[in-house]
């Protein structure tokens, strides 16, 4: 079936198997393997992407459901060869260990900062509550999001 949608700013028009989930389309068809599949049932958030401005699990969305919509994946965070401030903050804060959950964490955090540029710690914890990490203990991830928020605020001041 024909699928037209916007991926990381680029308009795509593809013929796809309508039985694909969005994560299958990203990873297996488009070879965009930054988005990870963890549980495959909406529990872990590893596959989080941003769909029309909000964080969703790409394992819980059929590929055909993004027709006419805008998808942002972790590959779309980098702009002109520069890491997003959020990615830089994750690195600088040591918020990454094995890294498997990181793309999902980044996308949940990005969705939050797009909506709420200066979130409270409670808002950060709430926004990230659908993402599991089995390495870091979350503290450094929370700190990274706070740091990215401060970097953005300083940048726009």
């Amino acid at each position: 079936m024909r699928l037209d949608f916007t991926l990381n700013g680029a308009v795509l028009s593809l013929d796809i198997d309508p039985g694909l989930r969005l994560i299958d389309l990203l990873r297996d068809v488009l070879d965009m393997t930054g988005t990870k599949e963890g549980c495959g049932e909406g529990e872990c958030g590893a596959c989080t992407i941003i769909l029309d401005g909000v964080a969703v699990d790409s394992c819980m969305v059929m590929a055909m459901q993004v027709r006419g919509r805008e998808v942002l994946t972790v590959e779309g965070l980098e702009q002109k060869g520069e890491l997003d401030e959020l990615q830089r903050a994750f690195i600088d804060s040591g918020a990454i260990q094995c890294g498997y959950c990181t793309p999902g964490m980044l996308m949940s955090a990005k969705a939050l900062l797009m909506r709420t540029p200066e979130p409270t710690e409670h808002e950060i914890r709430s926004a990230m509550a659908g993402n599991l990490c089995r390495c870091t203990g979350y503290l450094k991830i929370i700190q990274a999001v706070q740091k990215a928020s401060q970097m953005q605020s300083a940048h726009h001041a």
């Binding site: 079936m1 198997d17 309508p18 039985g19 989930r21 049932e41 909406g42 529990e43 958030g45 989080t48 769909l51 909000v54 964080a55 969703v56 699990d57 394992c59 819980m60 969305v61 059929m62 055909m64 459901q65 027709r67 006419g68 949940s108 709430s126 926004a127 509550a129 659908g130 993402n131």
Partner: protein
């Protein structure tokens, strides 16, 4: 292997047309967060999915005089964040805010929870407590309404025919915001919690004497389907909220749960859970010392 088929109606007449042709292998796709768990089987069976996500008219919330109509595509995130719902129907906002995770709430909608008909379905109890009615479209293009307890018949069982789709839920707007929702889950996570016990309380209270005229109390996750507890409701009628009343209601709810779960040792923790939940909701609503 047969291929999964995908139909994409964009308005009600097109949806009716899809429903008219629906067979036993047809499923409705809304938010998808329940249905996609079954995707491997659906693919294997060559299922036809009718995708509602492109139907803009189902993405609206309409406030009429005394009724709030929530379209089938309205996500829990929107319900949880809506200022009017938060102020006037806080039980609905609280329920929506505790479904799944932020990612799930950005996709999932009321109908999935209703037709999934799980004993732990959070929305079912709250919709029942609010005396809401479900709007259904059939393959002939006709629309009917039914109460939630006419729709949800048991675990995984509904009265929905294969040629019908839920297109919205009509909720009478409570005259006052004296309503609350709570749940206790089985896991220590703050999100993606499946309810061990859920409770919705809706009070009709007269001012200025602050007397309870009527109460609706619905328990979820303690029986095959969410149910009202008339013994607890009756205790409240013509009473002024008090610590004593809260404790009596909590005990009545506990007795109801005891009657449902019997001696099954795996469920005994629900007794204390429901008591605590009832006291929490009374405290939240009426700031009582408990």
């Amino acid at each position: 292997m047969p291929e999964l088929r995908f139909e994409m109606p964009s308005n009600l007449p097109e949806l009716a047309e899809c429903l008219a042709g629906a067979g036993d292998d047809t499923r409705l796709l809304g938010g998808g967060t329940d249905l996609l768990l079954q995707l491997p089987a659906l693919r294997f069976q060559g299922t036809t999915l009718i995708d509602l996500s492109g139907m803009r008219e189902l993405s609206e919330m309409r406030f009429e005089k005394d009724v709030l109509e929530i379209g089938a595509n309205v996500t829990y995130a929107r319900i949880a964040q809506d200022p009017f719902i938060r102020s006037r129907i806080p039980c609905l906002a609280a329920m929506a805010a505790r479904i799944g995770s932020p990612q799930i709430r950005n996709c999932a909608c009321l109908p999935g929870n209703l037709v999934n008909a799980s004993p732990g379905g959070d929305a079912i109890g709250t919709i029942l407590a609010l005396d809401a009615r479900v709007r259904l479209l059939n393959g002939a293009g006709a629309i009917r309404e039914c109460a939630i307890d006419e729709l949800v018949l048991g675990i995984g069982k509904t009265s929905l025919s294969r040629n019908e789709a839920i297109i919205g839920v009509r909720i009478p707007i409570p005259a006052s915001p004296w309503n609350a929702y709570g749940k206790i889950g089985l896991t220590p996570r703050r999100e993606v919690i499946i309810a061990n016990v859920s409770l919705t309380m809706v009070f009709e209270i007269t001012e200025p004497d602050r007397r309870i005229r009527a109460a609706r109390m619905v328990l979820g996750s303690t029986s095959p389907r969410a149910h009202r507890v008339s013994s607890a409701e009756a205790l409240c009628v013509d009473q002024v909220p008090s610590s004593e009343l809260a404790r009596e209601v909590a005990e009545a709810l506990k007795r109801d749960v005891a009657g449902t779960i019997g001696a099954n040792p795996a469920f005994q923790h629900k007794l204390n859970d429901v008591r605590g939940l009832a006291l929490d909701l009374f405290h939240e609503l009426f700031a009582l010392e408990l």
